[in-house]
Subunit: 325 residues, 2 copies
Amino acid sequence: MTIAEMAAAVLAGDRRALARSITLIESARADHREQAVELLTMLRGSGREALRLGLSGTPGVGKSTFTEAFGMQLAEAGRRVAVLAVDPSSARSGGSILGDKTRMEQLSRHPNAFIRPSPSQAHMGGVARRTREAVALCEAAGFDLVVIETVGVGQSETMVAEICDLFLLLMAPAGGDELQGVKRGIMEMADLILVNKADGDLLATARRTVADYAGALRLLRRRPQDPPDFPKAMPVSAVEGNGLEMAWAEMEALARWRREHGHWARRRADQAAYWFSEEVRHGLLAVLEREPAQGIMARLAAAVTSGEYSPEAAAQQMMRALGRS
Amino acid sequence: MTIAEMAAAVLAGDRRALARSITLIESARADHREQAVELLTMLRGSGREALRLGLSGTPGVGKSTFTEAFGMQLAEAGRRVAVLAVDPSSARSGGSILGDKTRMEQLSRHPNAFIRPSPSQAHMGGVARRTREAVALCEAAGFDLVVIETVGVGQSETMVAEICDLFLLLMAPAGGDELQGVKRGIMEMADLILVNKADGDLLATARRTVADYAGALRLLRRRPQDPPDFPKAMPVSAVEGNGLEMAWAEMEALARWRREHGHWARRRADQAAYWFSEEVRHGLLAVLEREPAQGIMARLAAAVTSGEYSPEAAAQQMMRALGRS
C-alpha cells in the first residue's frame, strides 16, 4: 500500500487503514517518520474537523465506563466516535490502559466507533506528540468526535490540553474537604467537571460534590475563552446513563460559543504553533538519545554524580563533544 | 581583576567580590560564560557547604518579613546568611521582588548577611540555572545558610527544589476549606509548612490552619528521605519573632537526619546530574535563540499559525535549515 493509497483509504473512513496509519506515525524509524509526514500532509486538505475532547480523571473514577456510555450514546445517534488513550504509566510499563478491550466491549464493536490504546513509547512527550497526529488522522477519516483519554497524573494533562478543544474532568463523589486532592492546575484546565457515580447510595454525595466543585470553579479567574457560565460542574452516572445527554449539550453549547467568538480557531492556531516548537525542540534534543552522544552523556553524568566534574564543566565537555561549543 | 583573584576574594568572604562574581555568572555573553565556568571550577575545591533552604509562598504571605526576621536571628547568632531570589514574574518584567531593598532593611545591613535580588533574565530556566551557580558561589564564600526565595507560581518551585536541601512553604492563616488553593504538587515538595502571622487576632486561625495542613500532610505518601514525623506544619510569627527558633531547630534536626541516613549526599548528587542534563539541553536549544535560526523559526511559526504548513512539515523544514534532518 502506497502512502497515497493509505491516505485515500483513511479519507474513505476505512478503519483498518486508519489503524495502520496510526501505527505508522507511532513508529520511531526515520523512514517511517518521512512517510508519516507525507501522509499527514496529504490528509491536511480534507478540511474535516472533529470535536477534540480531552478527558482526565484519577484511576477508578470510571473513565472507561463513562467513555463507553457516552460514546455509545453518540454512536447510536449516528455520530462517529474515536477514542485515543494517552497514558504515561503505560508508556513506562509498555502496557496500555485500553489494552483490556473488554472494558469498552460495546463501543469497540460499534460500527461508528474506533478505539485505539495508548502507544507504548518510552517518552511522555513522544506519546503526546504522536497522539496529536493520531487525532489529525481520525479527523481526516471523518470522525465527528475524538476523545483523548488520559490519567490524571504528571504532565500528561498539559500535553492533552494542547491537543484538545474541550477539556473534561471526571471526578468521583467525595467528602468536600480537599476536593479529592485534585491538582488545581488540572482544575484550571477543565471546561466541564463531571461528578460520576451520581446514582444509588452515592447520589446525595455526588450532588454535594458538584456543589463543592461549582464553588471552587467560581473562585478561579474567568478565562476569556469561556462564556459567563463556564467552567461548569454537573453530576452524571455512566452506569445508569443519567446526565450524559445534558453533558453533551453543554459541550456543544460551549463549542458553539467558542466558534462564534473566534476562540476556537485561535486556540487551534496556537496549538499548532506550540507543537511546531515542540517538534523542533525534540528534534534538536534527539541527538542525545543516539550514539555516540548517549554514551558520552552517561559517562559524564556518572562523573558529575561522583563529584569528579561540576555540572557546568561536564556540560561544556558535552557541548564540545557534540561540536557545538 | 583576574578570575583567580576573584576566586580568592570570594573564598576570603569578600561580599563585593561575591556580588561581582554573581553578576558574571548571570551574564549571557559567551566569554563571560567561559570565565564563569572557570571561576566555578576553581571554587569547587573549597569543600564548603551551606544549608540550602528553598522558601516559597504566595505573594502577601510575608516572605520578606519572615526572611528578614529569620535571617536576623541567625545572623545575630553568628551565622552567615545569604538570600537569593528567584522570581519568574520579575524575569518577565525586568524588575525584582527584592529590588525594593527596604523590605529587608535590617538584614541587608547586617555584616553576616548578603542579599541578592532575582536576575532579570527573560527565561525562567535560565534564572534557576544561574541561581544554582550563585548558591555555589555563596557556599564558597563561607555562608552557612543560603535562602532561595521564590513566589509560589508555575515551574519555579520545581526548579528551586532541584537546588535546595530543604524546602519551606510559608502560608497565611485561613479558613480550612481549600487549603488556600495551594498547589498539591508544591505541598508534596515541602519539608516544613510554616503558617505565618500566628499573632494577635489571627493566632487561633493560624493554629487551626496548622492543624489543617498537618492533616493534609498526613494524607501524603511518606517519602524515604523523611524521618517519621516529617513533613511538618507549625505556626510562626515573623512580626513578633515567635516560633522562629523552633522552626530553625526543626530544620537542623531534619538536615542532620538526612545527612546521617545518606539522603543528603544522594540528593545533592542527583541534583548535580539533573543540572548537567539541563545545561546540555539548554545548550542544544540555544541555537534557536540566535540568528539565523530565530528568524526562520518565527517565519515558520507564522506559516503554521496561518494554516499554510502543518506543525510537522514546518518542523521538518526547520531541522533541514539547521542541517540536522
